[in-house]
Amino acid sequence: MSQLFPKSANKLPLQIIIFLIVFAAVVTAATTYYATPEYTRVGYAPVQPVPFSHALHNGQLGINCRYCHSNVEKTGFANIPTSQTCMNCHNQIKADSPLLAPVRASYESGNPVPWIQIHQVPDYVYFNHSVHINRGVSCVECHGQVNEMETVRHEKSLSMGFCLDCHRDPAPRLRPLDKITDLNWTPAQMAEHDKWAADFIARNKIAPPQSCTGCHR
């Protein structure tokens, strides 16, 4: 039927197969790169109403995380400090800085500073900060080295896979409780960390849930 189809049509099946293989590969690669939390969440760093620098307050001045996020060890929710906490110092230091105007306004009115939330787990996920902090999981494991950030950015993917990586094998991510807020500390600084971690897990009966209902209650 050469009148109906050109001779090049003989190559069509092969061309279609090659196209489908390439197409599937491109779609897979593009989805893996662009459509996962590694791309969609990591790097999110919104401009905040006040240019608060964690690198200055925590990294240089050494104010402990828990001075501001004061409930993180005690409750499931790691609180954002009220403007009263800021004003403890800033009624003396840089008391007239125009950059701190929203903090002073909040202090006077009682309305909170409209900080933009960066780290957020979905509503169907139960996450308890105190449980993690009190079992030797440092802030840095999920939030990255906030002590070096001028502007806080979303450092880790916080996908379910990210959670499960640690829940399946917590030992390498655990540290002594007195190093919890030391964001520069690494297990390499400890002699025989794995031995310590095994002992720590046994003593504290650390058994992170891997069942659905552990987090999706």
Binding site: M1, T36, M160
Partner: protein, 494 residues
């Protein structure tokens, strides 16, 4: 001793044991009982009647596609499309609102959706049986019904797939059913028969489409050439595209035959495995009434039973409308009725055996379940099932009934009604009366559910009407091969 000597006489071979006796017997051979062996002649049924020529077959089958679209086709198509819109609207409403628009509630969380899924999947089985098992068993009467039955299989799988997919509620997560690596680390539970179902049904759908398509290729080429010669280039181009350059050369036919037999071999286990796995959805659970080992064979027999019911429902009107009596002969109808009778009897036996085991197993919960089925709140459904599935097929014992086409058609519809009720009885009665009497309930479908289900008959009909309008409903080459004139040995005595 006497039996041994008889054997020795027949095969006339000396044996180490009792050789003297054998020697004695061979001296006096037993006289022949008959002077002449004259075996009864059992002529094969004629599969194409009235000595129709090859040309007649081609013209007949191609004529259906080439002729003007009949008025009845448009009436049926528009009606079917309207009915199909019920399913579409029901599903849009479900997705935009939530799965709660269906009538499921504790304790009956599987109801019409799973009933409909099993019902449609079961119907598909006749197509696969005809195309695969009957092909390997060289049942030549399959040739005039296999194309339409395979189309029926594919369209039935389409209708079946709708229900479990939409039952998950959030349809956009349907890809969770497949083992695709993802950043949520969500992985399938391969110990669950529901996951086996995903693979069983998708394999079944794929192989059925392949089988159907491979069989179509030579016929598509015929249509391509005929439309080309008639000067209809566009239609010729489309048939030519799917005929993939078929020229009917010796090599083409050789490859085709090989591919067809391989696909038949691949499909044969599927006939048995798909509904076996569907039955595992129930049998692997611990619910009384579901947790029985008889389920796989019972479900497979039921599937083939319902499938042949549907083949009869579809083929008999086609035969009448297109005047295909010479190709779908009374012998074909007899064969289909007899398979329906055989599988229907197996199903009836399974119903009886379930009751027997419930009594014999002395498990009070199992016993209660079956008493409850027959005399409980859903007794009406149980007795519809029994009358349609146990009594109806027994009528096919009678030649008079098998020869009454209109009656066979009506009975075939009863078969399908009965098989729908079978799934309803199994699924709903068992769930409505679970282990805790405090949670017992009564399930009724919602309006959305009813329209979604009846709409699938529209979906099926739309697809089937398109099939009979645009594709050859019978494999021309295969039918030609079973005509009397194609048999070169017809007059020789074997």
């Amino acid at each position: 001793m006497s039996a041994d000597s008889t054997t020795a006489t027949f095969d006339d071979a000396p044996r180490s044991r009792d050789s003297a006796h054998v020697h004695h017997a061979s001296e006096h051979p037993r006289p022949a009982i008959l002077d002449e062996v004259n075996p009864a002649r059992l002529p094969r049924a004629t599969l194409v009647e009235h000595g129709r020529s090859f040309n007649w077959i081609t013209e007949k089958i191609c004529g259906i596609i080439e002729g003007k679209t009949p008025a009845w086709w448009w009436v049926c198509f528009i009606t079917a499309a309207f009915v199909a819109s019920w399913t579409v609207m029901g599903l849009i409403y479900l997705v935009s609102t939530g799965v709660g628009v269906w009538g499921h509630a504790n304790p009956v969380n599987w109801a019409w959706d799973i009933v409909n899924f099993v019902f449609w999947i079961g119907i598909g089985h006749a197509g696969t049986l005809i195309s695969a098992i009957l092909c390997l068993l060289r049942q030549k009467w399959r040739t005039s019904i296999n194309r339409a039955a395979e189309a029926m299989t594919i369209f039935a799988v389409v209708c079946a797939a709708i229900f479990p997919v939409f039952h998950i509620g959030r349809i956009w997560f349907a890809w969770f059913l497949f083992p695709i690596p993802n950043s949520n680390y969500i992985w399938q539970n391969f110990r669950s028969p529901l996951e086996w179902d995903v693979f069983a049904v998708s394999t079944y759908g794929t192989v059925s489409v392949l089988f159907w398509y491979v069989g179509l290729v030579p016929d598509l080429a015929v249509l391509r050439d005929r439309f080309f010669n008639a000067g209809k280039k566009i239609r010729s181009w489309f048939y030519g595209l799917f005929a993939m350059g078929w020229r009917g050369s010796n090599r083409h036919w050789s490859n085709y035959e090989m591919a067809y037999v391989i696909l038949a071999g691949v499909s044969t286990p599927l006939v048995l495995s798909v509904h076996t796995i569907v039955s595992f959805d129930f049998a692997v659970s611990l619910l009384p009434g579901w947790h029985t080992t008889i389920f796989p064979p019972y479900f497979v027999a039921g599937a083939i039973f319902s499938g042949f019911g549907m083949v009869l429902t579809l083929m008999l009107p086609l035969r009448a409308v297109f005047k295909l009596e010479d190709l779908i002969t009374q012998y074909h109808i007899d064969c289909m009725c007899k398979i329906t009778l055989a599988t229907g009897t197996i199903v009836g036996y399974a119903y009886a055996m379930e009751f027997f085991i419930a009594w014999y197993g002395a498990n009070p919960y199992e016993g209660f379940t079956f008493i409850n089925r027959a005399f409980g709140p859903y007794a009406w459904a149980y007795w519809i099932m029994i009358s349609c599935n146990v009594i109806t097929p027994q009528l096919f014992w009678f030649k008079k009934i098998r020869r009454n086409t209109a009656l066979v058609w009506i009975l075939s519809i009863f078969v399908n009604v009965g098989m729908w009720f079978e799934r309803f009885v199994i699924i709903v009665t068992s769930l409505a009366r679970d282990f805790l009497p405090s949670s017992w309930g009564y399930y009724s479908p919602s309006v959305v559910e009813i329209f979604t289900f009846f709409g699938t008959f529209g979906v099926f009909s739309v697809l089937f009407l398109l099939f009979i309008r645009f594709l050859p409903i019978m494999p021309m080459a295969e039918i030609k091969a079973v005509t009397p004139q194609a048999d070169g040995h017809a007059h020789s005595h074997h």
